[in-house]
Point group: C3
Chain length 341, copies 3
């Protein structure tokens, strides 16, 4: 299938500099550009690749057009325009509605129109599934839930506590939604389980990565607002609230009752302590530990940078006496001040 640059420019709302009749058959990055490929560059950092690429067309900001020997599509936001071009050139597979004969679906379920339910799906609870949704192979739903229109549970998703998923929610394989929160009371050293009664409430346009886990709330709900994007292997504990359009990278952990604002970015492997609040627009870098509330937007980091192990070890030993080092410094300062006087 081939598309003209003109067609693509129209779809993504870009101006063309060059020949709009050039045919595009696929997309690549700049370094792997070939005849027929569409690529993109976001900044001057890519000028060399832009000059060397064999791509037939590129999406670029206006200030890079001069570096394009091929046809350019001009965009203020080349990443976004490229994403939309890719969706146009590679449309999603058409949904083939129907319930696979191997699926085991409770009579209490309400399944809307144009829904696809795959092989070996088990739904043994009262569940409402919206129009045009896909429940992929091996998904298991054992608790009452509402799934909005155009949802896509790719495969092997488990929903085991009461839940509500908005429209256009995507859930990747191995994700678990609605598992019991880690609620324990202690009886002279021995832990007793606190039954978990809350739901998981997920807004529209949320994406949930592979093997990510989202526990149901204890008494209230665990809430993931509209447009939140969760990467793989993230742990979201009970009662957590994640504000709209926040993105969280792989392996991050959000402890119980933490509240994360809107438009935040949480780096991979970061850890957010329980019962704290993070303001809107906060960026947390990868593997950072956040153990106190953050009131102001900004970028936050903890930890130290990697060094060769021997040097690190010497420094890490000094860290263990850092307070003492600071006090010794203070002493010296005082002694020198006294001498002066």
């Amino acid at each position: 299938m081939a598309y003209s640059v003109r067609d693509i420019a129209r779809v993504i709302g870009a101006d063309i500099v060059g020949d709009g009749d050039v045919k595009i058959t696929h997309v690549t990055d700049l370094d792997n550009g070939t005849v027929g490929s569409l690529s993109f560059a976001i900044s001057r950092q890519y000028v060399k690749s832009l000059q060397a690429t064999q791509a037939s067309a590129v999406i670029v900001p206006a200030d890079l057009v001069a570096h394009c020997e091929m046809v350019a599509l001009v965009s203020d936001n080349p990443s976004l325009s490229f994403a939309r071009a890719v969706r146009y050139i590679y449309p999603a597979d058409e949904l083939i509605p129907g319930i696979h004969p191997s699926a085991i679906i409770s009579d209490e379920c309400e399944v809307a129109n144009n829904v696809a339910i795959g092989p070996n799906v088990v739904i043994n609870a009262k569940c409402t599934i919206g129009d045009n949704s896909v429940i992929g192979p091996g998904c298991i739903i054992t608790a009452p839930c509402f799934i909005g229109a155009y949802a896509n549970l790719i495969a092997r998703v488990s929903i085991v506590g009461p839940a509500s998923l908005g429209e256009r929610v995507i859930v990747h394989p191995g994700a678990v939604i609605g598992s019991d929160g880690f609620g324990l009371a202690n009886d002279r050293g021995v832990w007793e389980k606190i039954p978990q009664l809350g739901r998981v409430v997920i807004g529209n346009d949320v994406e949930i990565g592979a093997n990510t886990t989202i526990d149901r709330g204890a008494l209230q709900d665990t809430v993931i607002d509209d447009g939140v994007k969760l990467d793989n292997q993230i742990q979201v504990a009970h009662n957590v609230k994640i504000g709209a359009h926040t993105a969280i990278a792989g392996c991050a952990g959000i402890a119980g009752s933490a509240k994360i604002g809107k438009y935040c970015g949480i780096g991979g492997g970061a850890g957010i302590q329980g019962h704290i609040e993070i303001a809107d627009g906060v960026q947390v870098t990868g593997m950072t530990k956040i153990s106190q509330s953050i009131q102001h937007s900004g970028v936050y980091t903890s930890g130290t940078a990697a060094q060769d192990n021997k040097t690190w070890l010497r420094n890490a030993l000094r860290f263990k006496e850092l307070d003492r080092i600071a006090r010794r410094l203070q002493d010296l300062e005082k002694r020198l001040a006294n001498k002066k006087g």
Copy 2:
């Protein structure tokens, strides 16, 4: 369904201050209290919420009774009493015994009385399942194992190495028990797999979170003692021993042959190095790296606290030369001491 405060007080062993006939229909936290709700407060920190709540009854320690306008149930351990009240008010679903026709169960299995085996379960190994246990939908057992009475494998649990699970064990979806340990021998750069021969031995009253993985031992067994509680996405490597009544929060990793004592608490995302020993009663805070044995109970932490990224970067650069900084300080101290002399 409604319960009188008197009934609840009897079940949880609390004294009543106020009208024992008050009816309770549900539970909430203080801030969401409504007519008919039971709530709880554990300390003076909650006095304001206690005074503002609309809950009909609260479980409180004796020193908070004076702040209760509603009926109070007096308990030394309100969290625990509340947990028990919740279990009383929201009893677990009754087990409906039976083997779903889609389950594929080896003839070698011994299934005791009153067991429920869900849809799409596969058990193709010699397995003994105790009375009143639930093997939820999609569970897969491919290795010989013993599962005690009143076990609950919620859904989609995999047991793929030889294992023994005690009574009342709960396993959440996506958990993997008995996978091969990461045992490798190196032949001039190339890794060769060391076959893993041990079991996973899990005591009574253990809870295992969603997507948690517990590897089988290499030569010995991996052992999880009675009452241990593991949250989601925890990795327990081969030969690990976890002492009774230890609780481990989400995303923690325990490396091979580590031995953790009884009554420990390991925070979320913490990492325990292999082949070390941690004493009884040790608390490890979230995201802490434990790379040496700990002989004494106490609270242990590593890492640094988060700062705004620019300040952090300046400090992190200094960390890289911290040993040199300490030596320079020492030099100054010597020089000043010599001047004195």
Copy 3:
């Protein structure tokens, strides 16, 4: 089943010191040695255990033979020799070829000879499966893929993006291969998904741990080279390249487009930032954050060592002002230098 020490020595290529007719029935570590067991010791660190063991034979380096009262098998690499002895004494279960009647396999699949496909497997894409491979119970393959000969997908593995797996690849339960990368473009605060088009390409002799996730590439492929060993719960993001014979321990996370060299070792819980390069032969210790490229082989560490929480807190507060501490030290040095002058 019993094996003579002579047989075992022949298989592993070891010299015998002692009676080659001694019978071996099982393997143990030194501390659990019994009559009939084969054990091993790698260094002088184990001399005491070696002298105390009841094992009937041990694999040892030449310099430990003098400490062996039992028959010794002499090896330059006792771990490796032991691994091979274990494989000889405990041969893998023989593959029983056949497709379980509950498996749901697309007509487009090409299944080679002597393949075992387990219960509840779903393959609804064009897939080629090589000779002598095992697709264990509950595996789901929804995208075109090639699986080489002697592969072993233990159970409940998901392949949901286009993939190629080499020969003798082992994949443990819960692993997800080919899920969408975390590719997002931002439109004035709102995230839009960038369709992911690349594959996952996995070499020969790769092992992939339980609940590990490997995303498909965005435009290029995610590549795991020959002999790579991945432990449990590792996250491999889109476009990552992992060089041959690199081993990565549990819970590590490799962010998008990172490139890791050959013969590396990445410790448990370590985090590798996106778009960086790590040279061949680099060792990263557990829970280390690597945020910059590493040009030279060696051992690298970040973070601090654990302390009791109160001491740590004092030091962590000082870390927050470490740059200021260093500047104050510099000031003192200058003042003293001036005095001298």
